[in-house]
């Protein structure tokens, strides 16, 4: 099936989200769609999936114009979408999830007929080496397999064009490789794939053709064989981008964070952090790698006073601190939380209010019982220019900002005071190359000012680029601490996946940890 978008234009009040975008995907082809956040990728895909109507322009399938009034039309036309957030019912089995919406029934009583579905799921799974058991409960499956269930869902609906929206965001590097193998198998079978991403190396690895979107326009197409990351990044951002973080060797000084024997439970009461020890020194970045859900979030929350510590000690700047967010703040700890809209910002508050969010209680932002609104606005205006936050005014609610600018609001707030320790969790998640570059530079600058930085990330690029020491966390423990020069993607990937480091390196890790203490 050949899919073509011709001069698609979509305008939201005040924003031209898609400006005469033309693209096409041929039979058995993978189109990499590359673009920063806010470039219009998601809008375009939502148009293609029937969720939005274009203001002008046509969608053509095999050269025939089609109109999609809803996802139902798009699915019927053979378009399948795997969203970044999976649309699965956890307590249903794989087969039940696959069937949902296109239930097959038997007999006059319209009883559900699962056997047909199970057979078909098994066939699809075997054909593309997916290794999915149709009778497994989705809630028992790892994230990578859930994603494959989503893919099966689209194939079961006979999709000829598969849209994958940032599919690797939730995967380990190994799972990512597996996904690419699956994508190749699908393409070999004649399926077309639109692969949306902002990761340059992935698109180079897997796409047959690359289209780059910027500010709602296709700014260029490229052949992966003839281009490289630098060229793509330049196209995507519109200016040359420094992909390598410039930094001098760390000069670690006194410990600013000492964690020993820490035990923390997650929201469901399960042990998330088990007997964890770590030290962060002033002037260094300790980067913690790990697949999401291995206790990194809980570790960060415990240190910043957001989560109760069950057992163990946390010392900040050599002192035992009462672990409440405000006490931790007073002791010079900055916190870039994992989820900026859930934790770090009040989306309905304006920028000035968000910049005052955790310092509103003291001068100069407030005096006595009253807030000093003039001071709030003045400070916010300073931060906006200093941190290059793109906004029409300080009174703009942060919900209206792009992800990158939202993150800059948090960074502006947390970095604008002397810090002993900075806890940064996924500081660049979902951000575009330009913003990532910016935030990385800020982190290194903060390190060079003498702050200790605990960086938690699932992005290995980030871990390796920034970490002065690299710890791998698996099932609530730090399984290994590596020097950056010995931390290859492969080694990190294996450790993140639960492979036991050889005895020797375990001892090394212990020795390193002991040294650090």
């Amino acid at each position: 099936m050949k899919l073509e978008l011709r001069a698609i234009t979509k305008r939201f009040p005040g924003v031209l989200a898609n400006d005469a975008i033309s693209l096409q995907v041929g039979d058995g082809e993978t189109l990499g769609l590359l673009g920063e956040n806010g470039a219009g990728k998601t809008t375009l895909m939502n148009i293609l999936y029937g969720l939005y109507q274009p203001d002008s322009g046509d969608i053509l399938i095999d050269d025939n114009p089609v109109k999609f009034h809803g996802p139902g039309d798009a699915i019927a036309a053979g378009i399948g979408m795997v969203h970044q957030h999976f649309m699965l019912v956890p307590v249903f089995t794989v087969a039940e999830n696959v069937m949902l919406g296109v239930e097959s029934t038997k007999t006059a009583l319209r009883m559900l007929d699962l056997s047909v579905v199970r057979k078909r799921v098994r066939e699809i799974s075997d054909q593309h080496n997916l290794h999915v058991d149709p009778d497994a409960l989705v809630e028992d499956l790892p994230v990578g397999v859930r994603q494959r269930v989503e893919i099966i869902k689209t194939l079961y609906r006979q999709s000829k064009v598969l849209i994958l929206d940032e599919p690797t965001a939730v995967l380990t590097p190994q799972e990512g490789e597996e996904l690419f193998a699956i994508m190749r198998s699908l393409v070999a079978g004649g399926t077309s794939i639109i692969f949306i991403t902002h990761k340059l190396n992935e698109v180079l690895q897997v796409a047959d053709r690359i289209a780059v979107l910027r500010r709602g326009r296709v700014v260029g197409t490229a052949d992966p064989k003839e281009t490289d990351s630098e060229k793509l990044a330049t196209m995507m951002v519109g200016r040359p981008v420094d992909l390598v973080v410039d930094k001098t060797p760390a000069k670690p000084a006194q410990p600013v964070l000492e964690v020993s024997g820490l035990r923390v439970r997650d929201d469901r009461g399960q042990l998330a952090v088990t007997d964890l020890d770590l030290v962060v020194r002033a002037g260094e970045i300790l980067a913690i790698a790990g697949v999401q859900g291995n206790g990194q979030s809980e570790l960060a929350e415990a240190i910043t006073g957001m989560r109760r510590v069950e057992l163990g000690d946390i010392k900040i700047g050599g002192e035992e601190v009462r672990l409440e967010p405000r006490e931790v703040y007073r002791h010079g700890v900055g916190h870039v939380p994992e989820d900026r809209l859930e934790e770090g910002l009040v989306p309905a508050f304006n920028i000035a209010e968000n910049i005052a969010l955790n310092n509103y209680w003291a001068p100069p932002v407030s005096h006595g019982l009253s807030l000093d609104r003039d001071a709030m606005v003045k400070i916010a205006e300073q931060r906006i220019s200093e941190f290059d936050i793109r906004t029409p005014s300080v009174f703009n609610p942060v919900a209206n900002l792009s992800g990158g600018n939202q993150q800059k609001v948090i960074v502006a707030r947390e970095f604008s005071r002397p810090l002993k320790l900075l806890v940064a969790v996924q500081p660049t998640r979902g951000l575009d190359v330009g913003s990532i570059e910016y935030i990385h530079r800020r982190l290194v600058a903060k390190r060079d000012e003498g702050a200790g930085i605990l960086l938690i990330s699932t992005e290995l690029d980030e871990i390796v680029a920034l970490g002065d020491r690299i710890a791998v966390m698996f099932q609530g423990r730090i399984v290994s601490i590596l020097k950056p020069e010995e931390a290859t993607f492969e080694k990190l990937g294996l450790l993140m996946g639960g492979a036991r480091p050889e005895e020797k390196s375990v001892e090394d890790a212990r020795a390193l940890a002991a040294q650090a203490v």
Binding site: M306, V346, Y360, L369, N396
Partner: protein, 422 residues
């Protein structure tokens, strides 16, 4: 978040606005935008109310069956007469007002201003309970307990009002008012504390506390402490003259309670938008996780917000017993505690909006009886109109669809209407 948000999912930056947001023109436009919806809701309610007036009028219905044109014209004049009487009853007769102002005859003035005074009197308690609901809502809490808090406030104020004798008014009156505020705040403390400690939903607890408060008043009024000597029905002793909230003008029933209500509105406005505590209220209300991240104490903020809300509703009870009735009987205030919910919704949880909505409701109530006297349209029509306004306000999408208005970004009222599941 409102579903109407026009930012696409991948968060496109807004372009700079065509004109600076501080300019006069856009300020005016925003103000108009903010009141357009309530005004259209009011208009729609009046239209539907007109149909109700005709349907309830036997003469017109009979005429409609036999002679349609005559029936329609009769129906039209009944509607116009009813609404004219309603407005005259709420705001007064313009001619009478003018001649009274010209003659400056005290009696004529009192007569002419009688309807406005009645409107003021009716709006006093509902402005206060509306503020109570609005304040709690800003902190993410649904205070359905305004009625109970009002009753408790009245119970405390009336006790201080009749049991202490020989004090000068400038001590006695404040004492009685403060007693009402404290009692309301205490009644608000309970659901706040239960929510903070156990997570008990304040909608459930405040509703239950309303029942308890109402029964408590019924019980108290039959105890020797409260019950008026020589009476067998539940009615309290009368308060001392030194505890009376004096009338604004001799001869009219409107009293200084309205001034307290306006002061309360200014205070709430300061609290929400200018005070440190209000910043916490709003942060907790909009995003409790971020509020906790920012070092705010969610539990304490919840308790404090409910106490402040309770205090406002308690003051509403005080204003009624000290200003209007001078004693306490069951069912005091005629459901003002519940009307507060509607008024906060209508006023979009803004103090200025609550005052305006309170006056509107007060006007409807004050005009209802003169309307029935003049045209025979039953006073219950006012209740129907009131309910219709709220329904139109609660369904902004409906009003927008009727009048083909484009969705705005404002989320106050919609969030309030949609937020009940939270």
């Amino acid at each position: 978040m409102s579903a109407d948000t026009t930012v696409s999912e991948d968060g496109i930056d807004l372009p700079p606005p065509a004109e600076p947001t501080t300019s006069r023109g856009s300020w005016l436009r925003r103000a108009l935008g903010a009141i357009a919806l309530p005004l259209l809701a009011l208009f729609s309610a009046a239209v539907v109310g007109g149909i109700v007036i005709i349907a309830g009028n036997r003469d017109v219905v009979g005429l409609l069956e036999t002679d349609l044109p005559a029936g329609l014209s009769a129906g039209w004049s009944v509607i116009i007469d009813s609404y004219a009487a309603l407005i005259r009853g709420a705001l007064g007769d313009p001619a009478q007002l003018v001649s009274a102002l010209v003659s400056l005859d005290p009696h004529a003035l009192v007569d002419a201003f009688h309807p406005l005074a009645e409107t003021t009197l009716s709006s006093t308690p509902v402005i206060l309970t509306g503020l109570s609901v609005a304040l709690a809502f800003r902190a993410g809490l649904f205070n359905i307990g305004g009625e109970g808090q009002l009753q408790l406030g009245a119970l405390a104020s009336v006790l201080v009002g009749f049991s202490i004798q020989g004090l000068p008014w400038f001590i006695h009156l404040p004492l009685a008012l403060i007693a009402g505020i404290i009692a309301g705040a205490a009644w608000g403390f309970i659901p706040g504390f239960l929510k903070a400690r156990t997570g008990a939903h304040e909608v459930i607890t405040t509703i239950m506390l309303n029942f308890i408060a109402i029964q408590l008043v019924g019980f108290a009024l039959r105890t020797p402490l409260y019950q008026r000597p020589g009476r067998t029905d539940p009615i309290s002793k009368s308060i001392e003259p030194s505890a009376v909230l004096p009338p604004l003008v001799d001869g009219l029933r409107a009293h200084w309670g309205i001034v307290l209500a306006i002061i309360a509105a200014i205070f709430v406005s300061w609290l929400i938008f200018r005070a440190k505590k209000g910043f916490e209220f709003r942060a907790v209300g909009l995003n409790p996780i971020a509020a906790r991240y920012a070092g705010m104490n969610i539990g304490a903020t919840t308790v404090l917000a409910m106490m402040a809300a309770g205090g406002l509703a308690g003051l509403a009870g005080s204003a009624v017993v000290l200003g209007t009735t001078h004693n306490l009987i069951p069912n005091l205030g005629g459901g003002a505690g519940f009307d507060g919910i509607a008024i906060a919704l209508l006023g979009r949880s803004r103090p200025s909006g609550v005052v305006a909505a309170g006056f509107l409701m007060g006007a409807l109530r004050a005009g209802a009886v003169p309307m029935q006297v003049a045209t025979g349209t039953p006073i219950y029509l006012v209740v129907v109109i009131q309910a219709l306004i709220i329904m139109f306000i609660a369904a902004p999408a409906l009003v927008r669809a009727i009048y083909r208005i484009k969705a705005s970004r404002t989320i106050g009222a919609e969030a309030f209407a949609k937020g009940w599941g939270a």
